[in-house]
């Protein structure tokens, strides 16, 4: 009986990594599936079991643990971080003069991908043109940022006669993102006086020029989401993995222990000295990458049980620099809440009809 209970607990809580496949992947704890368990949704039970531990946090990336939540909701947060948190990015590129060898459309594409440091929460979406209107809405100060790139390459008069280094021969031959200047429109100069608006990174190479070539470009940035175009995605990437769990089914000693240690990532298995022999012990299964290398060795594969904890998510969020990663996670959660509220509003208004 106890073995059956343990098995049921394992099916409910663990994903098993086997030699030829992964088992127990799907969530099965719905009401009625397991006799004796009350799986109905209970907010208090969720609140009691749920916790978030921030492991690492700096300006561009963070790693945190979300424990006690289901994969469906954790995945929703990940998807929203990638595709539905809005940012500002260059959308319209007005090319007045481009005599460089980079084609207009290639240059426009590159400019669009440059992350622009402007808090998207302070801007609004631009009203899209409806089918009837033929004149486009001019951008206003509340939904557009105007940037300008005006640069001309010339020969350096002070270069020595026999040098062949372009850095010495030419002036302004590499166009970097630091050459993109912000042109405030309307009252933006007062509103954004402390935090200037411009590209996040100064050293993104946009184009290369030679003497006589120049670029004269005006750009409009609008607010958008990653679903529309990947340039609007605020994260370099956002991903999660489940916490690995390694159990040793029997004591492993000596040479086998050394080999077992090498099958896992560094720091997972350590060898302890017990009565003169080295015995393997699982110290920390968190850094393991679950490569299942141990299952390739016939004598070691039955000694170890590999699995993952189904509701412990280790999130890694790397921001492109527009918003700090903790703000991004907060915004992502708010986006999901807004989606729910939107449909609740629709339900209410359709009920009243």
């Amino acid at each position: 009986m106890a073995a059956i209970t343990k098995n049921v607990e394992e099916i409910r809580n663990r994903v098993i990594l086997g030699e030829f496949g992964v088992k127990n992947v799907h969530t099965t704890d719905y009401p009625g599936n397991y006799p004796g368990y009350d799986d109905t949704w209970d907010l208090e039970k969720f609140q009691k079991n749920f916790r978030i531990d921030v492991v690492n946090l700096d300006e561009s990336s963070m790693e945190f643990d979300m424990v006690g939540i289901d994969a469906a909701i954790a995945n929703a947060f990940r998807r929203i971080l990638l595709a539905e948190v809005p940012t500002m990015a260059i959308e319209k590129v007005f090319i007045y003069n481009n005599t460089s060898i980079v084609q207009d459309e290639v240059l426009a594409h590159r400019l669009g991908l440059i992350p622009i440091k402007a808090d998207p929460r302070l801007f609004e979406y631009r009203n899209t043109v409806s089918g009837d209107e033929t004149v486009e809405e001019e951008g206003s100060e509340i939904d557009t940022i105007q940037l300008q790139l005006k640069i001309k390459c010339s020969r350096n008069p002070r270069a020595s006669k026999d040098s062949s280094d372009p850095r010495e021969l030419y002036l302004n031959h590499m166009v970097y993102s630091k050459d993109i200047k912000w042109v405030p429109i309307g009252n933006q100069a007062d509103v954004f006086v402390d935090s200037g608006i411009g590209p996040v990174h100064d050293d993104i190479l946009v184009a290369q020029l030679r003497p006589g070539q120049e670029l004269d470009i005006t750009m409009h940035c609008v607010k958008g989401i990653g679903k529309d175009h990947a340039k609007f995605s605020p994260v370099a990437t956002a991903s999660y993995r489940l916490l690995p769990e390694i159990t040793l089914l029997e004591p492993v000693e000596g040479e086998m222990a050394e080999r077992l240690k090498r099958c896992f990532s560094r720091g997972v298995i350590e060898l302890e000295d017990v009565n003169g022999t080295k015995v393997a012990k699982v110290v920390n299964s968190r850094p393991d990458t679950c490569s299942r290398e141990v299952l390739r060795h016939d004598d070691l594969k039955n000694v170890v049980k590999l699995g993952r904890v189904r509701d412990h998510f280790i999130f890694t969020v790397e921001s492109t620099g527009i918003l700090p990663p903790d703000v991004l996670v907060t915004e992502a959660v708010k986006v999901l809440m807004t989606k729910c509220q939107r449909f609740l509003g629709e339900l209410d208004s359709s009920e009243m009809e």
Binding site: E9, R12, N13, T27, D29, Y30, P31, G32, Y37, D39, T40, W41, L43, F46, Q47, F50, R51, I52, D53, V54, V55, L57, D58, F64, M66, V67, G68, I69, D70, A72, I73, N75, A76, R79, I80, E84, D132, L243, P244, E245, V282, N284, R286, P287, V309, D311, D326, V329, T330, V333, K334, L336, M337, K339, C340, F343, L344, L347, S350, E351
Partner: protein, 128 residues
């Protein structure tokens, strides 16, 4: 239907003729697995619900068909409404917990940027 000034639909209900109110397919526009899967999870956790599932009819169209079949004569809009409310509550709680853990972290000893991982030895038992 109506003329040019019509708003795009956001939520539609499709019901088979003659079937009771408990079996309804909702069409949610401009949605995908993000809301679909998380909502399906929470509605399945409802004891009244007999069947709950969603499909993306075609990947080029961003809409989902969300079907709910209830047991015991409950109208299908009720588990949907409850699921949306519960998802909203979950998000609120996640937000609060996250803010608290950020605050706790910033109040602790000065910001350490070295990669020090807490020794979490993976066994989290969920007592049902």
């Amino acid at each position: 239907m109506a003329g040019e000034g019509e708003k795009k639909p956001v939520l539609e209900m499709v019901q088979a003729d003659g079937a009771d109110e408990g079996c309804v397919t909702f069409v949610l526009h401009d949605e995908d697995h993000t809301l679909g899967n998380s909502l399906r999870y929470l509605i399945m956790k409802n004891g009244d619900v007999d069947f709950c599932g969603y499909t993306i009819t075609h990947p080029s169209e961003s809409k989902i068909n969300f079907r709910i079949q209830t047991r015991g004569g409950v109208a299908a809009t009720e588990p949907l409404r409850r699921g949306l409310n519960e998802l909203s509550d979950v998000c609120q709680h996640v937000l609060n917990t996250f803010q608290v853990s950020l605050r706790v972290r910033s109040e602790q000893s000065p910001p350490v940027s070295c990669r020090e991982e807490p020794a979490i030895n993976g066994l989290i038992l969920i007592c049902g």
